[in-house]
């Protein structure tokens, strides 16, 4: 009985409250950016007044906008591909050969998340004079972003692999005449499609969200451009932030829909009542 009350009332309430702490600030930011009303005057009563996309249009027309976006997209693609090339074979290898180490590795990949970004920044500043040859290139951000994205890229590939009966599939493929590399290409990658997709979009999200390191290394990425632009035009700056956020969220929703759970499979295959 209590189970039912919990399910119908308490659980949705919890989700609602959690969502509120998440959505309300975003909503307020949207009003600030796109409503042509003084901040001090924002009330429920004028919720529908004077909305305008003008701040966004003027941000788009800034001549740095295109260049910054292009750099960020390049970084996103590079980060995504390198992450995949490193992670897929490595995690496959961990799953098959070192299954006991898997949870330790998983734990280590959380570190980039829990270590204050400020720590990394300080380190880079110190190391900078000794690695100019490398850090001068715009693409030198890629390795840092690969590491920063690790907590989630690792998890998406890892849980994709966990959903497969990896050992059996690999052995089946090998017994049918496929070597290791062809097995990865023809068996593992096709069955990780949604995991790989979500891994790629996660790196995009990291690249579009990361500001601190780009700023320290003086790279004009899209987030750096946004930060700067916000200084000259706060409404346009926050408008851009909202836009990139909406785009990211939409992408995630789409992945969420695409990657429907296939857990029904096994149960059906077992064939019990």
């Amino acid at each position: 009985m209590r189970g039912r009350v919990f399910g119908r009332v308490v659980a949705p309430l919890i989700l609602l409250v959690a969502a509120a702490f998440f959505i309300l600030p975003l909503f307020a930011m949207m009003r600030f950016a796109l409503q042509n009303v003084q901040v001090i005057d924002l009330r429920w009563s004028n919720l529908f007044d004077k909305w305008s996309l003008a701040p966004l249009w003027s941000a788009f027309s800034d001549d740095q906008f295109g260049r910054a976006l292009t750099l960020s997209l390049k970084l996103a693609i590079g980060t995504g591909l390198i992450s995949l090339l490193l992670l897929v074979p490595t995690i496959v290898w961990v799953h098959l050969r070192l299954p006991r180490a898997r949870s330790t590795v998983e734990f280590l990949t959380i570190l980039p998340y829990v270590i204050p970004a400020i720590g990394m920044v300080a380190g880079i500043m110190v190391i900078k004079p000794h690695a100019r040859w490398f850090l001068n290139s715009d693409l030198s951000l890629i390795p840092f972003y690969v590491v920063l994205a690790l907590p989630f890229t690792f998890r998406s590939i890892d849980s994709g692999l966990k959903a497969l009966d990896l050992r059996t599939l690999v052995e089946a493929s090998r017994s049918l005449g496929y070597g290791w590399i062809r097995t990865i290409v023809h068996v593992i990658v096709p069955n990780l499609r949604t995991a790989i997709l979500s891994c790629l979009f996660l790196t995009v999200a990291v690249v579009l969200g990361e500001y601190t390191i780009a700023d320290v290394l003086l790279k004009r990425t899209f987030p750096a451009f946004m930060g700067e632009y916000r200084g000259s035009d706060p409404k346009g700056g926050y408008g851009l932030a909202i836009l990139s956020l909406v785009v990211t969220t939409l992408i995630f929703m789409i992945i969420g829909l695409v990657s429907r759970p296939k857990s029904a499979r096994r149960r059906r295959a077992r064939g019990t009542t």
Binding site: T168, E171, S173, R193, K262, R268
Partner: protein
């Protein structure tokens, strides 16, 4: 049709000896089962043949050629696994064609071979289904078709039936045997289920703790077990103390008498287990305080619990220990 030969194979996992001096020759076209309890090394032997494990010592050879330097994907063996192993992203036809794709065959040849294989496993209509749309039994049929499509020199079956329901298991058992007979492929079958091993094999290798206890036809291992272990593991057995020591007797070598003076041992019926064509009667012997199981054709004795009966031997005992 090629012979497969294990000679003096030894394999340890850490301190555990999985195989110790394992010798076995499978003749061309023969169906051999390795039968034994968990951890007896039977699966290890099969995985060494497949190339998924490396023996610590000894050789596996195929038609006289040493396989040791050849990696798994060049051994040309078909394998069916215990867990469902179909590629979930491919439909049935593509699963069956998978091994053919890497063999540079023309696509018309591949299509013909796939049709042929699906017909053999009686799934011709289901070529465009995906694995998750199939029952467990159908998945294992497709796995069998996929393994046979590449015309392997040896077929390796690693408990392919153990994840299936009882009814599907027995149907598929008959069918695997039929297909093996029709194709004549040399087959190594690993199982812990004595019914499967007895029903399907030309010869059965009974294993215990990394060693082969006995290799022989199903009749031989059942009726002339080489050791008490084999007698106990293959089929049911009664152990009855007697003048010759403890004798091991099959339930069907005993018969039951409603007259307590007709048999050799007197006792009380404890339970009867109906099996359809036959019924097992459990009798507690007075003198020995020991349960004995008697196999009777259903209808010959009703076996009401509590009845006083006597038992005598109609067949021979297998061993005395």
């Amino acid at each position: 049709m090629t012979s497969l030969e294990f000679s003096s194979i030894r394999k340890c996992f850490g301190p555990t000896v999985a195989l110790a001096d394992f010798d076995l020759t499978i003749a061309p076209g023969e169906f051999i089962s390795l039968l034994g309890p968990s951890g007896c090394g039977k699966t290890t032997a099969l995985r060494i043949a497949a190339g998924f494990e490396r023996a610590d010592a000894g050789t596996v050879s195929l038609g006289g050629h040493d396989l040791s330097p050849i990696p798994a994907h060049k051994r040309n063996m078909g394998m069916v696994f215990q867990s469902y192993s179909l590629f979930p992203n491919l439909d049935v036809r593509k699963n069956v064609a998978f091994g053919l794709k890497t063999r540079r065959l023309e696509s018309s040849v591949i299509a013909r071979r796939v049709d042929e294989m699906l017909e053999i496993v009686q799934l011709s209509g289901l070529g465009d289904r995906f694995p998750h749309q199939l029952s467990g039994g159908q998945q294992q049929r497709v796995a069998l078709a996929r393994a046979l499509a590449v015309r392997p020199e040896v077929l390796l079956l690693d408990e392919p039936l153990s994840a299936l329901d009882a009814r599907v298991r027995s149907t598929l058992r008959d069918e695997i045997k039929r297909i093996q007979r029709d194709t004549g492929v040399t087959t190594l079958f690993v199982t812990h289920d004595q019914d499967e091993a007895l029903a399907m094999s030309d010869r059965v290798g009974v294993m215990s703790e990394g060693r082969l206890e006995q290799v022989g036809s199903p009749h031989e291992v059942y009726q002339s077990p080489a050791s008490p272990f084999v007698a106990r593991f293959v089929g049911s057995i009664n152990e009855i103390p007697s003048e010759q020591g403890t004798i091991l007797v099959r339930p069907e070598a005993l018969t039951i008498h409603e007259n307590v003076h007709h048999g050799k041992w007197i006792g009380t019926v404890v339970a009867s287990t109906f099996q359809g064509p036959s019924t097992l009667i459990d009798v507690r012997l007075d003198a020995l305080d020991r349960l004995v199981r008697v196999h009777t054709p259903t209808g010959t004795y009703d076996g009401v619990a509590g009845s006083r009966v006597s038992i005598s031997m109609v067949g021979d005992h297998l061993l005395a220990v």
